[in-house]
Amino acid sequence: MSRWLDFDRRLREVDEDIQKLERLLAAPSISEERRSQVRAQIAEIRQREEQIVREVFSHLTAWDNVLLARHADRPYTLDYIGAIFDDFVELHGDRRFGDDPAIVAGLAPLEGRTIAVVGHQKGRDVKERQFRNFGSARPEGYRKARRVMRLAERLGYPVVSFVDTPAAESRLEAEERGIANAIAENMLVMSSLATPIVAVIVGEGGSGGAIGTAVADHVMMLEHAIYSVIPPESCAVILEAFGRDPKRGPEAAEALRLSAQRTLELGAVDEVIPEPPGGAHRDPGGAAERVKKAIIKAIQRLESIPTETLVTARYAKIRNLRHYEEQ
């Protein structure tokens, strides 16, 4: 169903082969002749690998992107924060009810300026995933993010938002404390916050849970991230067009145009950040480097705009999305 999934498995096998050969190289007993043989072998495998990567990634399906965006090895928000910033002082709590670990927020230095960072954090292992509620934020998470963004506005720091969530938490406790209100108020505040906002969808940009921290002057998206109104499986279950069959998620993904390029063309994001060959999880450092450069470039541009102009332009961008016909 996913070409990429098979390919990802094969690629890992190739990686293992290379590792084996590299261990061979490192052995002291190896002869100089054998060594150069092995080197050539490695180079050949690598070339083949690159070719395969290029080939497979040149025609990924929407469903491939869904699987890539959800890949368990994909770098998460805290990975990006750790790689991009020299320091990060995490702030906690919404000053109302609690602290939601599904959203992290804090201050970080970036080339001489201070940035307010917010982002969903999915969690790497089983324990962290539970702690982080799989990146599904509760009202407290959105309110913490809002508090830190207001702090950024007050003190004149740009905001960087990392978006990576399957969806906002929707169970009863979240409903009771106003998850809908929390998302809506965040969008309201972000739509007129008097400081530059940059958002990066790094993995799953899941519906209301995502847009609740993704209203920004410059919205970027990693090449294999997804930004979707609904998980494709759920879409397939709901719509007759897909026989109400969750297995037809890949078709729904295609219908929903889940690719960064199409998302860009539809005007929902302003820039696509290319990932390292094979996807961000194959080179987290390289991915972070690209994200960092894109963030810095965006902030530099936004910083040069007077705040009032910035806020007006942000509203105009959000408001002027069309996609309708007037008769």
Partner: protein
């Protein structure tokens, strides 16, 4: 903003299924059709509030003959070229007589001019795509230009998934427009009606200045059945209702449909004091 197309504000009555008698969905009692609209589509026997079409809502809310619809011709461009979407739209258009799930215009209520919008759940489950978003924003802009309140009747199943990411963005677009109203100091009143969920509840409908809800309306971020299915849990009775949202501080006032109109008039008088003075 420029298309003023007068419509008969009683035409909504046509959307009611034909025949002299209709059955209450809650208690099963038969209701005599000619009395139904006089009763505001509330069952005489059990008090059940029927869902109203946008035209019915306009008919029972706006001063008679005062409603002037705007942008009635606006249609989605089907941005994703989504399988089967246009066909479904054409079906709803034919059946409901609307081109999308929100009707907006200007009218007076007890003589007070308002910018007015009503969503229609019978059109694609009241879902919000590019047209609903744009019409909401135009209604907001109209209220800013004219310095009159915006009154919106909201019912919706959420974002219009056939418009994909475009529909998600309407959440930000409509909410940002509420911010513009705030800065322009024009009041925004929303009435939650059955059912209101997901993307509309979690956007403009949650950030109104005053939130009223019709009693017993289903109101929630996720529909209760969606949650029960997804998490394999049983929800307590009464969750995800207007009353539940009131209890948790999300709604200002829960009212029956009979009490709604006088309440709206009181509120509109309060938030349009200068208008009132002008009219005198």
């Amino acid at each position: 903003m420029s298309q003023h197309r007068p419509t008969d504000n009683r035409s909504g009555a046509e959307a009611v299924p034909e025949g002299l008698w209709t059955k209450c969905r809650q208690c099963g009692n038969m209701l005599y059709q000619p009395e139904v609209s006089d009763d505001l589509y509330v069952c005489r026997h059990c008090g059940h509030h029927s869902r109203l079409t946008a035209r019915q809502r306009i008919a029972i809310t706006a001063d008679e003959g005062s409603f002037r619809e705007h942008d009635s011709a606006m249609r989605t461009s089907d941005p994703l070229d989504f399988p089967g979407y246009l066909e479904k739209l054409r079906e709803d258009e034919a059946q409901i007589g609307l081109r999308d799930a929100l009707v907006w215009g200007e009218c007076t209520i007890d003589g007070i001019p308002v910018s007015f919008a009503a969503m229609d759940f019978s059109f694609r489950g009241g879902s919000m795509g590019a047209v609903v978003g744009e019409k909401f924003v135009r209604a907001a802009e109209h209220s800013i230009e004219r310095r009159i309140p915006l009154l919106v009747f909201a019912c919706s199943g959420g974002a219009r998934m056939q418009e994909g990411i475009v529909s998600l963005l309407q959440m930000a677009k409509t909410t940002a427009a509420v911010g513009q109203m705030g800065r322009a100091a024009v009041p925004f009143i929303v009435v939650y009606t059955d059912p209101l969920t997901a993307g509309v509840f979690a956007s403009f409908a949650s950030v109104a200045d005053i939130v009223i809800a019709e009693q017993q309306s289903l109101v929630g971020f996720a529909g209760p059945r969606v949650i029960e299915r997804a998490f394999k849990i049983k929800l307590p009775p009464g969750s995800h209702t207007a009353e539940f949202q009131f209890e948790h501080g999300m709604v200002d006032i829960v009212v029956s449909r009979r009490e709604l109109q006088p309440l709206l008039v009181r509120i509109l008088r309060l938030v349009s004091p200068r208008r009132e003075a002008d009219a005198e």
